[in-house]
Structures are given as structure tokens and as C-alpha cells.
Symmetry: C2
Subunit: 194 residues, 2 copies
DNA sequence: GTCTATACGAAGATAGAC
DNA sequence: GTCTATCTTCGTATAGAC
């Protein structure tokens, strides 16, 4: 695609999404105006509509992009031979991935209710797909006699809630290193399913 | 206090808070207008200002009321003799209390960022007080040799995150009864700290 | 692609009548 | 205590010049 001299679509577009991500995470989708986003990017409000048809789509794109990244990264992770190894890999993967993008994680479950029903359904489907990956590990482990799990659905949600909770308190450079955090959580997960 | 014939302060006041709670939980604080709240209550927008000085105070009162209820209920719970019994009681108390008022729970951590800094500090202090109650149980259990906990602070936050996660999926009348849910979570908590 | 200008509606909050 | 009316500000989104 040829571009004219003054065209910055491939630079400004990502900057719009970055600014929106930061502002949505800090103040919430409904509390952020297009004018604020434009100010952060350094353009006028009207110019934003070259990069998104409306504010709703901007939110949806951020959430969908995040879920796509999550599922791709999960799919790219090395395959482990046994359910306990798979569960450990999942635990460490989840913590690391989520700590790397706290803002996207934050809006991905804080702003779900600000999606239109159609957009919500899309994100929900992606989220369920991620949960099913963990549940499959728990089921395989139970079938193999390695795990003692009363209800794989609930345990799946409980583990994910516990792990995602790391984002509420972890600060890099704090008292604990990332490997230490991973080890502590893996210890709890391992014991909880045994 | 004498009241005039047309005075409904003691009826309308709570109804304003109820309507605000429901609307804030459903759409988010920033997305809800005073006019919407007034419509739900059945008065004009201007009349709301007889019951709250402004929208911010309305939110703060809801959150502070919720935290006060939580800490009172915890203080009123029967005292258990040993750390494992205390932890079981805490686990069941937390699940039951939170499932009884899902809307208040929801806004109490979704709308924290919409509080003014001063109001935020007040709510944070109350939240920390609740967390310290659980941490004290974990420390006592570790000192007594009943629990195996690497880091009491993190374990406290991990347990609370896991338990509060119940609110995201539990629906009364669903597949599992409340006692069953409590039992499943207590089983996981117990194993995770042993 | 970005600007300025603006259409159009709705927000929070207040004033004064009843 | 509640109403109607209103002030002032701000919201999303669009139009047309450059």
C-alpha cells in the first residue's frame, strides 16, 4: 500500500490504542472522553475517528487483541508430558503473561459490562476457550489419578481467580521476584489439587 | 425529631441508596446519571440532593456501609478454638457474606478508582483491616505448626481472591448448593495451607 | 490525516416556587 | 421535600477546509 508523505496511520493508530488502554485502565471506559485520548496522543478529537469508527470499537479492539494474544501465547507454550507438569506450566504462564500487561488484564474484566451484547459475546467466547484449556489439564490429571479435584469447573475458576489476583498487589522491584511469586503460587495450586 | 406530614426522608433516603447500588453495579458509577437514579426512585433529579450532597458521596457511603457491615459481621462471628477451625469459619463466612450481597461486593472493588483520594484512603484502611484478620489466623496456624505457609501476606491475598471469585459464577438455584460450594472451597483452602 | 468549527444532547448541580 | 426550570460544562460524532 502506497502512503502519502504526511500519512502516519501506522504510527498514530497504535498510539491511539496505547493512550486509550492507559486511560481506560486508570479511570474506566465511561469516565474517559475522546478528548482526553486525543490530548494524550497529541491530536484533535476529530482526528481519532480516522482510526476507530467509535469509542465502543476502540474498547472492543483492545479486549479482543488482549484475548488473542493470550490464546496465541498459550498455544505457543511448550507441551508438557504429564498433567502435573502441564499444571505447573500453566500456572507460571498465567502469572507471567498477566503481570506483563496489567492494564490490558485490568480492563479485560473491569470493562466487560461496557461492551455491546454482540461484542461481549465475542470476548466471552475467547475467555471460555482459555478456561477450557485449564479444565482439560485438571480432567486429565484426575483421570490419571494424579489430582484429587471435586469439581473441575469450579476448581478451574478458583485457580484462575487466585492467580489473576497477583495483579492486584505485585510490583516489580518489590519484596519478591517473579520466580519467587511463581513458586509460591505453584506450591498452593499443587497442594490444592492433590 | 418531629416530621412534617409530607416528609419521607427515612423512606426515600434508603431507596436512593438502593437504586444507586443497583445501577452502579449494573452499569458502573461513571456511566450512571443522577437522572437515572431519580427515575428509578420515582422523583426528579433535583430531589436527590436532599439525600446526598453529591454523586461522589453517594458512592462513598455505599462502599463504606458495605465495609462496615463486613467488619461488624466478622466481629460478631463465633470464636473458634484452633487456627484450622478459625480458617474454616473464615472461609465459610467470607463466601456466605459475599454471596448475600453481590452488588455491594462488585462495586466495592470495581469503583475504587472512582473515589476521591481521601475517600479511597478510608475504604482502603477498612479493607486492610479485614485482610489482617485472615493473616492473623494464618500466622497463628503457622506458629502452632498446623499450617505450612511460605508467605502469610501473599497467601492471605491469594485466598481472598480465590474466595471472592465465587461471586463471578455462583447463582442460587444452580447446580451446587451453598453448603456444597463452601465445602469445595474449604477443601482447597485447607489443602493449600497444609 | 489533521485541523477548526460545530451540531446536538446530556451531564452535575442549583434556585426558587409551592 | 419535591417540583420545574435553568446554568454551565462536557460528551460523541460529523463537516469541510487545507
Amino acid at each position: 500500500m502506497a502512503r502519502t508523505a504526511g500519512s502516519h496511520s501506522d504510527i498514530t493508530g497504535p498510539r491511539v490504542r496505547e493512550a486509550a488502554l492507559t486511560l481506560f485502565a486508570r479511570h474506566g471506559y465511561a469516565a474517559v472522553s475522546m478528548r482526553q485520548i486525543a490530548r494524550d496522543v497529541g491530536v484533535q478529537a476529530g482526528a481519532l475517528y480516522n482510526y476507530t469508527p467509535d469509542k465502543q470499537t476502540l474498547l472492543f479492539d483492545l479486549l479482543q487483541g488482549h484475548m488473542d494474544d493470550l490464546l496465541s501465547a498459550l498455544a505457543d507454550a511448550p507441551v508438557q508430558p504429564t498433567p502435573p507438569d502441564q499444571l505447573e506450566a500453566f500456572t507460571r504462564f498465567h502469572i507471567r503473561f498477566h503481570l506483563e500487561r496489567p492494564q490490558a488484564v485490568f480492563i479485560s474484566y473491569m470493562e466487560l459490562r461496557n461492551l455491546t451484547p454482540e461484542n461481549f459475546a465475542v470476548i466471552e467466547d475467547l475467555r471460555r476457550r482459555y478456561e477450557r484449556a485449564l479444565e482439560a489439564i485438571l480432567q486429565a490429571g484426575r483421570d490419571a489419578g494424579a489430582f484429587h479435584v471435586v469439581d473441575t469447573k469450579i476448581t478451574t475458576l478458583a485457580i484462575i481467580a487466585m492467580l489473576t489476583g497477583v495483579n492486584t498487589w505485585y510490583r516489580s522491584g518489590g519484596r519478591l521476584s517473579l520466580p519467587e511469586v511463581e513458586a509460591i503460587y505453584w506450591d498452593m495450586v499443587r497442594k490444592a489439587v492433590t
